[in-house]
């Protein structure tokens, strides 16, 4: 089986969120970059588990971005991918990124394409679905479990207020979230091995962008907390009822 895992680069979860260029660009200088946690912990680790269960499985990683993305791609390879492809392009919007991935995936013979459920920076949840449509493949989003059973895939996805179990044939596109796998730390052998694994750079195809970021804003600061004495907790209930009017 051949799996393609989509890897995105995001700021670390503790990174300071600030903007430059008249609030049109994320201030990335000095920021620690990581593999988008959903891509790493769930999509990639689950793919690695499938390979551990069936040694014939091949895992390719794909990232759309510049050469400054190579460190996070190497880290993903250290965790377990076999080889990586970087589409040498500047991310403009989800549609453009999905078009770039589709161009690579189209003739790649992949049985399974896995993404994280969303990136922690743009929170779009869009790449998997767009890719599925561009490749005319079925798509199951927000999967919390994925198992192979013969030629069939059994996927449990989160729905509003519950779970749904789906069966599908391959090829299939799945977006992954918590439940799929557990976070892993790359070991020394993996890190050494990653240096010599192929990281192929391909040039982007012509693709449109349908959206652009006009500006960013930071949320207004909170007015400050109103503290209630621990000796009078019922006062808190009164405030929530009469002042905030939320209960």
């Amino acid at each position: 089986m051949k799996i393609l895992v989509c890897i995105s680069k995001t700021p670390d979860t503790t990174a300071k969120i600030a903007f430059t260029d008249n609030n049109t660009k994320f201030a990335g200088d000095g920021v620690q970059w990581i593999i988008n946690p959903y891509d790493e912990w769930y999509a990639l680790v689950r793919a690695i588990e499938l390979k551990e269960a069936d040694a014939g499985t091949i895992i390719h990683l794909i990232n759309v971005g510049g050469a400054d993305n190579d460190p996070i791609i190497r880290k993903a390879l250290a965790l377990g991918g076999d080889e990586a492809i970087r589409v040498n392009s500047v991310n403009t919007d989800s549609y453009n990124v999905a078009s770039q991935i589709a161009a690579v995936a189209k003739d790649g013979g992949y049985h399974l394409v896995m993404t994280g459920k969303e990136t922690i920076d743009y929170n779009g949840s869009s790449i998997g679905g767009m890719l599925a449509e561009l490749l005319d493949l079925p798509y199951i989003s927000h999967a919390i479990k994925l198992d192979l059973s013969g030629s069939e895939v059994i996927v449990v996805r989160e729905i509003d207020g519950g779970e749904e179990t789906d069966k599908a044939a391959l090829p299939l596109i799945v977006s992954c979230q918590k439940g799929m796998a557990e976070q892993r730390i790359p070991n020394m052998k993996g890190i050494m091995g990653a240096r010599t694994k192929p990281l192929k750079v391909v040039e982007p195809v012509d693709a449109e962008s349908l959206t652009s970021i006009a500006s960013f804003e930071l949320p207004p600061a909170k007015a400050g907390v109103k503290l209630v004495s621990p000796d009078q907790p019922e006062e808190l209930v009164r405030l929530l009822h009469e002042e905030a009017r939320v209960i």
Binding site: T165, K167, L210, T211, A214
Partner: protein, 321 residues
């Protein structure tokens, strides 16, 4: 211009998030002097007429039983055909489970720019710009859509379920080709008797400060009294004190209830990311230096085990129980 809103339903009723999407579509229509119609797939819910209260006069139904099971590819194809027939140029979804699965597909199919997770109506004073939350709740982005066709998915609990009409919506059944699904729904497992976190107006949440799962009675009792959903911090779900679906934060669910009531949670940046869009935040923590107090509206610096029973008593009194 014409607007089409996709209405999701389950157990014979329109989902709350879809009423919010309907209200959004109606407000967008009012703002742009156009009209908003709805599209409903599968055996129609019993309460289609109610859409009229939210400003939708007409609902197109594709009442093919094959659509009673969800498949993103089939739904996308059907909605695209309906959108074409009614000449819709803006399509609105709720950014809920099915919306997240279908809206991006439809965006690629129609080459319609998508803003996933909109929190306000578009600003059309200079182009078509929609505000959404980014960096997991730590900032907002104003996204400009440049394509002629547009798709907006509305974040649950961000616009409000606003009413704007009194007449019943009329239904028109519409026939389109329903392709065969390549995925098959085998089982649906709803968590009975619980309010889904993403829909809840009040959320009571517990952290590692509660010491163990045996102490969750104070969380669930308060939640029951307030008609609230329950949530927890990540380490609590990681050690299985609570189920994974309760985990909120940067790597869990992002929620925006009217009231988020946090007990024994420190308020780490990754936790705040998922909850800081809540309208009112209450923090109960014994450490005055807990970072959560900086993001809170109300708080008590105190021991949850002493404070919570008194709070529960006061709420009981308030609710007349």
């Amino acid at each position: 211009m014409s607007i089409l809103v996709y209405i999701d339903h389950s157990d014979g009723h329109i989902k709350k998030q879809s009423l919010e999407a309907a209200a959004y579509a109606a407000a967008l229509a009012a703002q742009s002097n156009s009209k908003a119609d709805a599209v409903i797939l599968g055996t129609p819910p019993t309460d289609v007429a109610v859409l009229g209260n939210y400003g939708i006069q007409k609902a197109y139904t594709v009442s093919d039983a094959a659509l009673d099971s969800f498949d993103s590819q089939v739904y996308c194809s059907v909605i695209a055909q309906v959108a074409e027939k009614v000449a819709a140029d803006i399509i609105v979804f709720s950014n809920n489970a099915n919306g997240k699965a279908v809206a991006p597909r439809l965006s690629a199919k129609l080459k319609a720019g998508l803003v996933a997770g909109a929190i306000a109506l578009p600003d059309t004073s200079n182009g078509f710009v929609v505000k959404k939350s980014v960096f997991s709740g730590k900032a907002f982005a104003n996204i400009s859509i440049s394509s002629a066709k547009k798709i907006i998915s509305v974040n649950p609990n961000s616009f409000g379920i606003k009413t704007s009409g009194t007449e019943n919506a009329v239904t028109e059944n519409i026939t389109v080709a329903v392709p065969a699904a390549k995925t098959k729904v085998d089982a649906v497992n709803k968590i009975k008797g619980e309010i889904p976190l993403s829909e809840a107006e009040i959320v009571v949440s517990g952290g590692r400060g509660l010491k163990g799962p045996e102490n969750w009675g104070m969380v669930t009792e308060l939640a029951d009294l307030l008609g609230a959903a329950t949530a927890c911090s990540r380490p609590v779900a990681d050690v299985n004190w609570r189920p994974h679906h309760e985990h909120v934060g940067q790597t869990g669910l992002a929620i925006a209830p009217n009231l988020y009531f946090a007990i024994g949670i420190s308020g780490a940046i990754q936790h705040l990311a998922g909850v800081n869009r809540s309208k009112t935040i209450v923090v109960i923590n014994k450490d005055p230096e807990a970072p959560f107090f900086k993001a809170a509206d109300y708080g008590i610096v105190g021991d949850a085990f002493e404070v919570m029973p008194k709070i529960i008593e006061a709420v009981k009194k308030l609710k007349g129980k």
